[in-house]
Amino acid sequence: MTECDVLVIDDEPVVRAAVRRVLEANGLRVATADDAGSALAHPALARCRLVLVDLMLPDRSGIEVLRELAGRRPGLPVVLITGYATPDHVVRARDAGAAAFLAKPFEANELMDCVRRALTRHVAAGEDPA
């Protein structure tokens, strides 16, 4: 099974590619999925340390994926990314237990800051399966 640190779920190929490029350049192993269904069935899901999920996926919303993951892998940090964030979305994401909320478009360092913070919190919680 492929080792994986971060699972990126986004229906937009350029976003998946860009995120993969930045994360891999920073030494993280990345798996991607283009919708909620394939993400939840992805083998990497069992072992990854972080999930980046788009708020609006073709089949389900990012918040639904977040809730599903909270049941399957409690404590796994999930970062929501979106191109259209209303204050209401932010509140709902936080209430659903999102580790962070990242608005598109973002710079490489913004992405890395966000990912590092989420992973650090994860490690601090002592649930690193690695």
Binding site: M56, G83, Y84, P105
Partner: protein, 626 residues
């Protein structure tokens, strides 16, 4: 084709009038005929009495020849048809027609009928019963009157001793007069009365037609035409019906209804536009942010890795900066759609202006534009959102560059501190009637501000009127319905409360004034006379000029057509075709407005435009850091 209501009324009332007049005429005719016959009867009776008296002496003296000649002489009178005397046996003793002397008349004959009706001769019945009218063979009617010759003491004692004492009636004098003349007169008067009656019916009909046209047909036609216009979608329709009756009341109710409808429709349209902006912004944000993520992430990633290559670094910085600007524009759109309040901080508008210029510099150079910066050194800081203000200036600069077009031209960006007099500049952000109804009409705008809607009235005619919401300016959104110079009071379009001020007079023309409740419930007054430019906002005038920072962007481009000025700041209003979304100036206006500032545009066609943004300074303006 329907029959006109006026025509139906004319027919109905006309028929009743004609019948009434015909009845009256026939009664008058009958009465006059009866009166004439009665008069003639009396005069015939008098004549017969005269004949009796004049022949009395001859009779007593039994001078029969004289009697005969007398009667024949009387009978020659043209009006007198016949005079004759019967004896008791019915035998004609004397007659103006000598041929019938000696004939015996049956008691049933016309002359005898009055007295012998019951076969029992009366001595002397009243004159009407003794008279009878009948036709003679000569073709005209005659009136006959019989006069009994009663026995008198002188008759029984006369020399001839012809009559006994026990006889009561000795004979009968029968006078017949011609009715030809009377019948002719009756015919003449019948013709005259009929003529008058027809004339009266005609005049009454005409009068009725005119009245029904004025009171019914014309207003009904106006109502029908108005309704058709409304049905065709023209909600600005106002029906003018003069007078005070049910139809003018209906017209007023109709006008109120269309007024409300158009107001609601305008508000719906405006709400619809804003909702569309929101949907568009959301869609754009979602779609554009994905490709922007690709550009920004890669560019910033490359920038991080190009630390040792200053040349590439500078290029990548441009990409990152511009992509971030795109991000800000998209966020600005969302902000506009969501009307987020500005995140204010002390801001130096001069440095905001310089940043804005650096952002648009490339485009300006491409378009052969000469840009002049004229920033005053003493411009104080204002409380503003620097990002939003930069967006305002970028929008205005790009707009100016667009106005210059291919040929290019000059743009002057200037800043200064200024004192702005309220008159002609201060927007009226709140307007209410005395009962508190909101008078601001978001559907009708002057510049970008909602106009102040009142209902004006002159001689029973009412029309909605949209006042310019900038104090002291008179670019009203409605044309005066009346000619200039008439006094047209105003009232609230919702609750119809009069806005007229008691005991008030315009300082220019002396006409009464009306007032609305402006911001902080301060009254703002206008003259009721149409065309009179008097207005007064006591509270605002007392506070005096307002300190502001003024940033103006001036171009010598093609200018803005006059008719486009009021729509300039409306969402989706664009003259740039596919190149424009019609959102730039709407967003610009929204940002300036949310900063409590104003934006003013002056433009002359083919000479250029100047947009002036004014942001208010606080009570203690912070000095610019440098």
């Amino acid at each position: 084709m329907h029959t006109r209501i006026g025509l139906q009324i004319v027919f109905a009332v006309g028929l009743v009038t004609a019948l009434g007049i015909a009845l009256l005429a026939s009664i008058a005719l009958r009465t006059s005929r009866r009166e004439m016959i009665a008069q003639l009867t009396r005069s015939a009776d008098l004549l017969s009495e005269t004949v009796k008296r004049s022949t009395e002496d001859y009779m007593l003296e039994n001078r029969r020849e004289r009697i005969r000649r007398q009667i024949e002489a009387i009978g020659r009178e043209p009006r007198i048809e016949r005079v004759r005397v019967f004896n008791k046996q019915g035998s004609i003793v004397f007659s103006s027609d000598p041929s019938e002397v000696g004939h015996i008349l049956d008691k049933g004959a016309e002359s005898c009928f009055a007295c012998h009706a019951q076969d029992r001769p009366l001595e002397k019945p009243p004159v009407q019963e003794r008279a009878r009218i009948f036709n003679t063979g000569s073709g005209h009617r005659v009136l006959g009157i019989v006069n009994p010759i009663q026995n008198q003491p002188s008759c029984t004692s006369a020399a001839c001793h012809a009559h006994g004492v026990d006889e009561t009636v000795l004979g009968v004098l029968d006078v017949t007069v011609s009715l030809e003349e009377v019948d002719r007169q009756i015919a003449v008067s019948r013709t005259r009365i009929a003529g008058l009656a027809i004339g009266a019916v005609a005049v009454a009909g005409l009068l009725l037609w005119w009245l029904s046209w004025r009171l019914v047909s014309r207003p009904v036609e106006a109502l029908a035409a108005g309704t058709r216009r409304v049905a065709a979608g023209d909600l600005t329709t106002t029906i003018v019906v003069n007078g005070r009756n049910e139809l003018s009341e209906l017209a007023r109710a109709f006008n109120q209804m269309t007024g409300r409808l158009s107001e609601d429709q305008r508000q719906l349209t405006q709400a619809d536009k804003l909702a569309s902006v929101g949907r568009l912004a959301a869609g754009v944000a979602h779609e554009i942010n994905n490709p922007l993520t690709g550009v920004l992430t890669y560019a910033s990633f490359l920038l991080e890795r190009a630390r040792d290559d200053p040349e590439r670094r500078a290029d990548l910085e441009v990409i990152v900066r511009e992509t971030k600007r795109c991000r800000e524009i998209v966020r600005g759109l969302l902000d506009f759609a969501r009307q987020t309040p500005p995140r204010r901080q002390p801001t130096d508008l001069n440095s905001v202006a310089r940043q804005a210029v650096s952002v648009v510099m490339n485009q300006l150079q491409l378009g052969h534009v000469a840009l002049t910066l004229d920033l005053a050194d003493d411009v104080p800081q204002v409380e503003a959102d620097p990002n939003q203000m930069q967006q305002v200036l970028v929008n205005l600069l790009l707009n100016a560059a667009d106005a210059l077009g291919e040929r290019g031209g000059t743009i002057r960006l200037a800043s200064r501190r200024a004192q702005v007099a309220p008159r002609g500049h201060e927007p009226i952000h709140r307007a209410a009637c005395p009962k508190g109804c909101d008078l601001l009409d978001p559907g009708t705008r002057v510049g970008a501000l909602p106009a102040i809607r009142v209902l004006r009235e002159h001689r029973g005619q009412e029309w909605g009127f949209c006042l310019d919401p900038v104090y002291g300016r008179f670019n009203h959104a409605s044309a005066e319905v009346c000619e200039e110079g008439v006094v047209a009071p105003a009232m609230c379009p919702r609750c119809r409360t009069p806005l007229l001020e008691p005991d008030s007079a315009c300082e220019r023309c002396g006409a009464p004034t009306f007032a609305i409740r402006g911001p902080d419930d301060e009254p703002i007054r206008w003259c009721t006379r149409t065309g009179c430019h008097f207005t007064w906002w006591e509270g605002r005038e007392r506070r005096g000029p307002k300190p502001v920072v003024e940033v103006s962007i001036e171009d010598n481009g093609r200018g803005i057509p006059r008719e486009n000025l009021p729509k300039l700041f409306e969402p989706f209003f664009t003259t740039k075709g596919v190149r424009g979304t019609g959102l730039g100036l709407a967003i610009t206006w929204g940002i300036v407005e949310s900063h409590g500032g104003t934006i003013e545009v002056e433009s002359e066609q083919d000479a250029g435009s100047r947009f002036t943004v004014r942001l208010p300074l606080g009570a203690e303006p912070m000095r610019s850091a440098g």
